[in-house]
Assembly symmetry: C2
Homo-oligomer: 211 residues x 2
């Protein structure tokens, strides 16, 4: 089937749900299909980070100009730095037929949906809250205070879960990657995304029945 | 992931789109997952047809009693015989966690959706109207009059296409079967179908953050 326009997918999930790992595996397996959205930020590049690859690095002035120009799908300020999603990059990739993936938290996800009403929203969770807690503890890098803060944050994020389209349970990584891939690819078969094909088929049928 | 309730899927499509072949292949490949809905009819059994397998064979009186009892999801009269979908069978299979498939035309599909608002509606088409025409001609069993009548009927059915959720293009059979299977199985991950799991996760998180 001829491929329609690319699909914009927003992936959110609890910290510790493994969404970063899923995204990385998805990109490696299907690099021709997907484009990962690149964020713009005013924070300084860390060692090894390249402009236009990990982030678009911007001055505060340039970032605020993007805000004024409505050139960002969404943005937020975090610990004194701006982070946002440049609209032009997303639109270019979609027009090229790439399925664009945005990894972003829930407030950003809802802003994206307002600007791209046919965006697909996926939420990644571990199999249970117990598993989430154990994964956070298991990292061994966080104090119990931080872990409890993360769990409280997870509870807050769970409040918005009904706004999402699909719930992906990350139990076995390869299965979660396959699920995310199938969900996005099947979305191309949605009737609403095939208006052109349907119109074409109708016109063809009309031609036959008129003869 | 623990499986939720079965999903009711309605499959429609143009005559000659190959939906019967897709359904047969799907059932053979995943007989544990799916249950094909069995129609009730007042027409006489043909040689080899068994009650409760190909059809539930009913007297006209019994069928009209089912109509009066609201025991049918939908029904229609065709060439002097009733055909309908018994509600009890569909509901039993769904409760057992089976994904139930109903092969039915468009008017019936819309009646099903009214009674089962979360039914999934798939429409099967050939790759183009040209291919549809050639398939009908290629069968060699129909006069051109019949073929033209079928194409006119296809045009009528295409009018309702926007009511469906997914468009499945049957070009290569195995791919169409895989698509239908993936579309139905991914539907289990819809947020709206996982309300219990989400509530459970929230309660668990609440328990952790209260400690």
């Amino acid at each position: 089937m001829q491929k329609n326009k690319g699909i914009l997918t927003v992936v959110s999930g609890f910290s510790g749900a493994g969404k970063g790992t899923i995204m990385k595996a998805l990109m490696q397996a299907h690099s021709e299909t997907y484009a990962l959205s690149i964020s713009a930020t005013t924070r300084a590049p860390r060692t090894g980070e390249r402009d236009g690859i990990e982030y678009f690095f911007k001055s505060r002035e340039a970032f605020e100009q993007m805000i004024a120009d409505d050139a960002l799908v969404e943005y937020a300020e975090y610990v004194g730095n701006y982070y946002g999603t440049p609209k032009a990059y997303v639109e270019e990739q979609l027009a090229r037929g790439k399925d664009v993936i945005l990894e972003i938290e829930i407030q950003g996800a809802l802003k994206v949906r307002r600007q791209f009403p046919d965006a697909l929203l996926l939420f990644v969770t571990p199999p249970s809250a117990e598993v989430l807690k154990n994964r956070l503890i298991g990292r061994g890098t966080e104090t119990m205070d931080v872990i409890e803060h993360r769990l409280a944050r997870a509870l807050e994020e769970a409040e918005g879960l009904e706004e999402y389209d699909y719930l992906v349970v990350n139990d076995v990584l390869e299965e979660a990657v396959r699920e995310v891939h199938e969900i996005i690819q099947n979305e191309h078969y949605r009737v609403a995304r095939n208006a052109d094909k349907i119109r074409e088929m109708r016109n063809e049928l009309k031609g036959f029945t008129r003869q």
